[in-house]
């Protein structure tokens, strides 16, 4: 799958480029821990993140969003695929960017603000840990911790010596952001970073994130299941379904005229503020199928109202939208010449 297909703008190297990333988790059990099945958590996912943009990743629970995030920072090792950072492939060897180096440039904020802070360390030690690991002298790291804590809106004098259990959820998440920013990364992977917060606190943290992005020239990979939040923060949106990218494109295009039936269903599930425009029917019925032995062909065909024989048989590739709006869709229905009866006529057909 080439870069162009992915809807990336031409010119310049993307900050992060992911190609055919794959992670299957074995399901073991029974006698002698035999492998019974595989969970296809992330299956041939490709995307790019431009410097300075915010790429939102949305999808239902279990669609592989968080696994993708963890794969990017090599917290789990991918089964296949390539990750390039600043044009260089991650790994050891000439012309490559070592993992340790990647972790200077990319940081992650986790969803659970509680378990992502060590309960035995003070806020100061937590934030200063990263810089110290990367060789910053202790005194300087502590000074930076104070500085960065102020930047995320917590008074260093009040909070620097506290322990995580003395903070509220919103404060803890601010500390998590401070911890991630302490080693001065370029890319911040926010894995459901605001999902566990109250709406008002969530809004505060989102505003903080957009301020920080401007101040430190950050690039965000924003993972969330909240479509409103994603619309608010993202420049581009990537929709995942059962470990696959189904659609990716600029946020306004995606939200105005979603193409993939799954994206359409997702967006129509967004509650409207206008009572006259209330969604009457449930846009999607049932739970997503299990990522263990996912459906053949297009993984969405079991729930898709437009499914045809071709959807069961062949997996739709992610192809650039004909309207050339910087968007790519993986659906036979909208791909010319795909064999779907309702597909638009292809250039050769």
């Amino acid at each position: 799958m080439s870069a162009v297909v992915n809807g990336a703008r031409a010119g310049g190297t993307p900050l992060l480029s992911v190609q055919d990333l794959r992670k299957y988790f074995p399901v073991t059990g029974g006698v002698l821990n035999r492998q019974l099945a595989t969970v296809q958590a992330v299956d041939d996912v490709s995307f790019e993140v431009e410097r300075g943009e915010t790429l939102g990743i949305v999808g239902e629970s279990g669609c592989g969003k968080s696994t993708t995030a963890r794969l990017l920072l090599a917290l789990i090792t991918p089964d296949a695929g390539r990750i390039r950072y600043g044009g260089k492939e991650v790994g050891e060897g000439a012309g490559r960017i070592p993992l340790r180096e990647l972790r200077r440039h990319a940081q992650m904020v986790f969803q659970d603000s509680y378990s992502s802070l060590n309960p035995r360390l003070t806020i100061e030690d937590t934030i200063a840990f990263g810089p110290i690991v990367h060789g910053t002298p202790r005194r300087e790291a502590r000074a930076r911790a104070r500085d960065i804590l102020g930047k995320v809106g917590l008074d260093p004098n009040l909070f620097i010596r506290r322990y995580p259990h003395e903070l509220s959820g919103g404060q803890r998440q601010r500390v998590n952001i401070a911890r991630a920013l302490a080693i001065q990364p370029d890319l911040l992977v926010l894995d459901e970073a605001v999902s566990a917060l109250d709406k008002s606190v969530e809004a505060q943290v989102l505003n903080l994130l957009s301020d920080l992005k401007r101040e430190f020239a950050l690039t965000y990979l924003f993972i969330s299941h909240d479509l409103n939040v994603v619309q608010y923060v993202s420049d581009r949106v990537l929709v995942m379904y059962l470990g696959k990218v189904v659609e990716v494109g600029p946020v306004d295009v995606m939200y105005r005229e979603p193409q993939h039936p799954y994206t359409r269903a997702l967006l129509s599930a967004m509650p409207s503020m206008d009572p006259d425009r209330r969604t009457e029917d449930a846009p999607l019925a049932g739970d997503p199928p299990s990522p263990i032995n996912p459906p053949s062909g297009c993984r969405f065909h079991t729930r898709c109202p437009f499914a045809q024989a071709v959807c069961r048989d062949r997996e739709p590739p992610l192809v650039a939208d004909v309207a050339a709006s910087g968007r790519s869709v993986a659906c036979h229905l909208v791909t010319p010449g795909s064999g779907h009866p309702d597909a638009p006529a292809g250039p050769s057909a």
């Binding site: 963890r70 920072l73 917290l75 340790r100 972790r103 200077r104 990319a106 940081q107 992650m108 986790f110 969803q111 659970d112 378990s115 992502s116 802070l117 060590n118 309960p119 035995r120 360390l121 003070t122 937590t126 840990f129 990263g130 690991v133 990367h134 004098n157 009040l158 010596r161 506290r162 322990y163 995580p164 259990h165 003395e166 998590n176 911890r179 991630a180 080693i183």
Partner: protein
């Protein structure tokens, strides 16, 4: 005026910090302070340890000096406040001196086992997978034997003596400590802050040192204190069977053994070493229970 307000504001801030910024150990101490049983046990243990350490000065007589004339004097005899044993040695002096060996035999094997078992459990728990399997299944083999039997078997094959008794007791305590450490480590390892530390670029060793140890050490340490009482009893048992301390050294278990024959003549004196073992192990147990509940702070 404004300066004064600022100063007072700063003072309020400082007071707030002092009041709110209670660390983990401070919280534990505050909870512990209200627990009278634990405090009492701690005091008893402190007294026992102190009396054992200062036995040379506290003991009224030489614990090795025998006297055929003054055998098996009852408690309260002139010059022998706790009576004499079957060889006419002063019981009080022997109990004080015996505390040294008994406590030594109680604490040292547990400390050794804490180092060995803790390291094994930490490695098994943190690395998981095949390493975990290899270490923990090996540990399980040792676990299959009853602890007394294992201690007796190892001591028996190595021969009598304090060193061999310590070796056998250490072997007995490595499996339970390794297992507890492994389970706590496995829990801690799956928490996000470990992933966050790894994402910060920290190596495995640094993560274990800074993030895992601080969370694992507490519960494992508490568990180890509860093993001290078991160790004292097992050591006493080994001595009783003639596999631990050799006479004429005073040790509570051995004293119990040698006084056994005199139990009909002088039952109260014969029971004294047992009373000491009882109080020491009970105190260790209750203290460890108290510590456990005090340290179980839901942070």
């Amino acid at each position: 005026m404004s300066q004064a307000t600022e100063t007072s504001a700063a003072m309020v801030d400082a007071a707030q910090v002092a009041a709110q910024s209670r660390g983990y150990w401070k919280t534990v101490w505050l909870r512990l302070r209200g627990d009278k049983v634990t405090i009492a046990c701690f005091v008893v243990l402190a007294l026992i340890v102190l009396s054992a350490v200062l036995a040379d000065w506290l003991a009224p007589a030489d614990p090795y000096k025998t006297s055929m004339l003054k055998r098996l004097k009852p408690i309260g005899t002139e010059g022998f406040p706790l009576g004499t044993d079957e060889l006419g040695r002063d019981m009080l002096s022997r109990l004080l001196h015996g505390g040294r060996l008994s406590l030594f035999m109680g604490i040292v094997p547990v400390v050794y086992a804490l180092v060995i078992g803790g390291a094994l459990g930490l490695v098994a728990g943190f690395l998981g997978g095949r390493v975990n399997m290899l270490i923990m299944r090996t540990i399980d083999v040792l676990y299959a034997f009853p602890s007394v039997l294992l201690a007796v078997a190892i001591s028996g094959s190595l021969g009598a003596g304090v060193t061999n008794a310590i070796v056998s007791l250490t072997v007995v305590f490595v499996p339970p400590i390794a297992r507890v450490t492994e389970s706590v480590t496995t829990q801690v390892r799956s928490l996000d802050f470990v992933d966050a530390a790894r994402a910060s670029g920290a190596g495995t060793f640094t993560i274990i040192r800074v993030h895992v140890l601080s969370n694992v050490l507490g519960p494992v340490f508490i568990y180890a204190t509860s093993l001290i009482s078991v160790s004292i009893i097992l050591a006493a048992g080994l001595s009783f069977l003639g596999l631990g301390t050799e006479p004429p050294h005073p040790e509570w278990g051995l004293m119990l053994n040698t006084l056994r024959q005199s139990i009909y003549v002088s039952p109260w004196v014969a029971a004294l070493p047992g009373v000491m073992i009882f109080f020491t192990s009970l105190s260790f147990n209750l203290m460890s229970d108290g510590l456990r509940s005090a340290m179980d702070v839901r942070l």
